[in-house]
């Protein structure tokens, strides 16, 4: 992800003289022994096979299956192709689809606008070496470590309408999980609670790596704290910023676990990933229909992946 090591590696190797460049390269190839070449081939081949077998083939199969009405029973040669019917069904007669798209976008926007900046802000605070910063660090990172089942349980204790802590403490009777106008926000808080800790730790690691002399220089030049951060530290942390951005997008696209724990992604908590699971996994086995949903999700993800790769490649070229 980071291009820093690459630069250092370039510097470590003295550039070959331009006149003998072809000869030099051939000699370098011969430096590899037979064992080296076998090892390198294996190291390329094995991951390639794994990626093809576990990522690309299933993805291609998903796209293929989305054109069928397979129910997971019977031999593969009995599969009937139904063309684009699954897609038209998804869009036209499947009520949860539109809310799911809206919720996924809302998820992305909230994480991007609220949770990620807040996590970065906390990292900056913790970087100041406050008293007890290790305690805060642990406390804030804890949600990321907790198991999913436990998180679901913890928030159920808080949000339950009849027995929950929030309603008991404030004497309210808000149906946090059941009211479809409220529950997406309730879950978003829980999701942000996890996301903030994750981003904080990532960003803190980056901040620790910033050369202190940069800050000193800025301070000597009379820059304020916030000016130092935005004009000096933030630009230096560009590789980390990109990672944080990518993590945010990934987290919001694959958001699934919390809504699944709450109510299996129904009644206001629809997400594309939850709909895919409802249809494909489990007894339902609407493999064709679920695959159509999964393909739609794949296309949405591809948009973001393309944007990201384009940005990274453009940078590498510069």
């Amino acid at each position: 992800m980071s291009d820093l090591p690459l630069i250092q590696a370039d510097r470590a190797v003295p550039p070959p003289a331009t006149t003998t460049s072809t000869g030099g390269r051939r000699r370098r190839l011969r430096l590899l022994s037979r064992t080296d070449r076998v090892v390198i081939t294996l190291m390329v081949l094995v991951p390639l096979l794994l990626v093809t077998g576990f990522v690309w083939l299933p993805a291609a199969a998903t796209v293929l299956l989305s054109g069928t009405n397979w129910d997971g029973i019977g031999p593969l040669n009995e599969i009937e192709f139904v063309g684009a019917r699954n897609y038209s069904d998804v869009v036209n007669i499947y009520p949860p689809f539109v809310p799911a798209i809206q919720n996924n976008l809302l998820w992305l926007a909230t994480l991007f606008v609220v949770a990620t900046p807040f996590g970065m802000f906390l990292a900056v605070l913790l970087d100041k070496e406050l008293r007890g910063s290790r305690f805060y660090q642990t406390a804030l990172y804890l949600p990321v470590v907790l198991s999913l089942a436990l998180i679901g349980f913890v928030w159920q204790l808080l949000y339950s309408r009849d027995q929950g802590l929030i309603n008991a403490a404030f004497g309210s009777s808000i149906d946090w999980y059941g009211d479809s106008n409220v529950n997406i926000w309730a879950v978003m808080v829980a999701s942000g609670w996890r996301h903030v800790g994750y981003i904080m730790l990532l960003y803190l690691a980056g901040l620790k790596g910033v050369d202190p002399s940069l800050r000193e220089a800025a301070a000597v030049d009379g820059a304020s704290e916030s000016r130092t951060f935005f004009r000096v530290v933030f630009p230096v942390l560009r590789p980390i910023n990109i990672i944080v951005l990518v993590v945010t997008v990934i987290e919001s696209l694959r958001a699934f676990d919390l809504v699944w724990v709450v109510n299996k992604g129904r009644n206001g908590l629809e997400l594309i990933s939850a709909l895919v699971t409802q249809n494909v996994v489990g007894e339902a086995s609407r493999i064709g229909f679920g695959s159509a949903l999964a393909t739609i999700m794949l296309v949405v993800s591809l948009v973001f992946i393309t944007i990201y790769l384009a940005t990274v490649m453009r940078e590498n070229r510069e």
Binding site: T35, D179, N263
Partner: protein, 442 residues
Amino acid sequence: MSRPQTQAEYLARLVPPSVAGINRRSLLAAAAGTGALLGTGLLAGCGDDSGSGGSSTDVSLGSNQSDPKPKEVLVKVTDGFKTSSGVQVAVNTVDHNTFQENINNYLQGKPDDVFTWFAGYRMRFFAQKGLASDISDVWGKLSGFSDAFKKASTGDDGKQYFVPATYYPWAVFYRKSVWQQHGYQVPTTLDQFTALGAQMKRDGLIPIAFADKDGWPAMGTFDILNLRINGYQFHIDLMAGKEAWTSDKVKKVFDTWAGLLPLHQPDSLGRTWQEAAQSLQQKKSGMYLLGLFVGQQFSNDEQDDLDFFTFPEIDPAIGAKALDAPIDGYMMARKPKNEDNARKLLEYFGGKAAADINLKNDPAVLVANSGADVGGYTALQKKAAELVGSATEIAQFLDRDTRPDFASTVMIPAIQQFIKNPKDIDGLTSSIENQKKSIFTD
């Protein structure tokens, strides 16, 4: 092995010979090799992870009874089988939900000889697809089952594919003490039921406890209203996709339900059935339509205070004799490895001895075999058994009487939508009908 003489020797022993004296390069090659092996191993593993029937045992049983209590009871039953027949049973227990979700792959892979399942549409579907074996000959040796149970065990081709073991009825539960305190009477018509609800409201009670966070409990309400308004045969045909959801009959069910909704506990979509049952237990609610398992939320000394009545009659021509009573039992896989032993095991499961063991050890269910010694039943169990015994037809519950894809991906969101907005019945039923047409294609 001799003791090490020096500390250095001791430390050297800690390094296994496979690692000692290896250089970095061969380590990398080995790692790559293991990676490849692991990869193929995983791929190969996908194929047969469900095959666990070993040849060392005489018959294998795939069980979804993963809760401690039923699991323990099943062990006792299989022990009983071993004593009576000398055949060893290998029980392969899988988490209840996981078992249900993986049933397609399980049955198409290498299933156990006998497996736990439910009566209903899905049982008939597996029978029709050839994923379960005909066990009519076992039925020839069984006795003590009413016709309703035999009907529930029969596939579309008229042969039996299922041995019932236990069941539980759905009914309206209440606390006797609360009803005595307010002087309530068991309603026998819908009007009396509504009037009772209104009276409970005046008395400061929530008339009907209600929860549908998990999507399935409200199906029970739909079922019972449909059974009372349109009868059993319509329920079966509707669930099989033969009747239109846009028909006036279905709309009348939703209309009636909409009329009753104000008597139901509000904000039901955020509540689990356990919480709703606790509101009944805490005497905040007057009654609750649920399965017999509602008793799990009551402490032992409160069990006697729990009583129930069957949902009142709505249409005198239909009566109030049908009800939901899901039946759990056993089926035999296609091509079982030990077919003779599997049939013997099924015969034992359907017999009086197994029923007696079930009855003695698990108070939360009723046993299907009427030959069992029912002296051990609690008063509630006795009454429940009488209720089901007098039922003219036994339905299996919405999600067991129809295709699972239709129940989970269409009906759960639809019923939740109805609870949120009970006014738009036309839009709701036409949405269900459109999705039904897309799912019931064959």
